[in-house]
């Protein structure tokens, strides 16, 4: 089992991939290091959210993912 990371919307272009896998556990600092500088810069913006195990984190810096979790990186929305 690993952690699956999904890049939504424009973050997929920035990351050059739609998803990837990483060995758990993974915290916020681990995510920033793993994501690479371009995505990490975006992740630190207030309007970029992180979901873990199907829930949007109220405090993304408190990320605490374990093997089997899915993390989604959510850029600012543009719907409707």
């Amino acid at each position: 089992m690993t952690i699956r990371i999904l890049f939504l919307g424009p973050l997929a272009d920035l990351a050059g991939q739609l998803e990837c896998e990483v060995e758990g556990p993974l915290d916020w600092d681990g995510l920033l290091a793993f994501a690479g500088p371009a995505v990490a810069e975006q992740l630190q913006l207030e309007r970029v959210n992180v979901a873990c195990a199907g829930k949007v984190l109220a405090d993304k810096t408190a990320l605490s993912a374990v093997d089997g979790d899915e993390i989604a990186l959510l850029p600012p929305v543009s719907g409707g």
């Binding site: 829930k55 899915e70 543009s78 409707g80």
Partner: protein
């Protein structure tokens, strides 16, 4: 009557409104908004991406808030995902209420939140090139109208 859906195929809003009206007997008024892909500036296609664990649940939470805030009998909220062509409907929100103002304001409320807060990402294709659409400042000021 509450009908909250994501659709992956083209839909005809008119076919939703009749049954929705019929499912809310005794209503005093219905307000319906339909959003379509604008045919402008060489836009060839539009694509909306969702994230399944949160997009539809988020629309249900929005419906909960609309029912709590307005005196509604029914709410229909249908949103497309996937690729769409100019002229195709993207979203249909319809509210049924005893009195018109609740219906009208509930639709306005839902649309502002769908535009500014729902979990969708949009890109458009012009001259064969896909480009992501950034949120507009107006989307945030529209949302701010509903702050309690």
């Amino acid at each position: 009557m509450r009908d909250i859906r994501l659709l992956t195929e083209v839909f005809i809003p008119g076919t939703l409104i009749g049954p929705f009206s019929g499912a809310n007997p005794g209503l005093g008024g219905i307000c319906t908004f339909i959003g379509e892909v604008r045919a402008e500036d060489g836009v060839e296609a539009l694509e909306l991406t969702q994230y399944e664990p949160i997009t539809l649940p988020g629309m249900h939470e929005l419906a909960d808030r609309a029912f709590a805030r307005f005196d509604l009998m029914g709410l229909l909220m249908v949103h497309r995902v996937g690729q769409m062509l100019p002229g195709e409907p993207i979203v249909c929100v319809s509210a049924a209420a005893s009195h018109r103002r609740d219906a009208i304001e509930a639709v306005d409320f839902c649309m502002d939140h769908l535009k500014g807060r729902a979990w969708f990402w949009k890109r458009e294709k012009r001259a064969g090139e896909w480009r992501w659409i950034e949120p507009r400042d107006e989307d945030y000021t529209d949302l701010a109208r509903w702050k309690d």
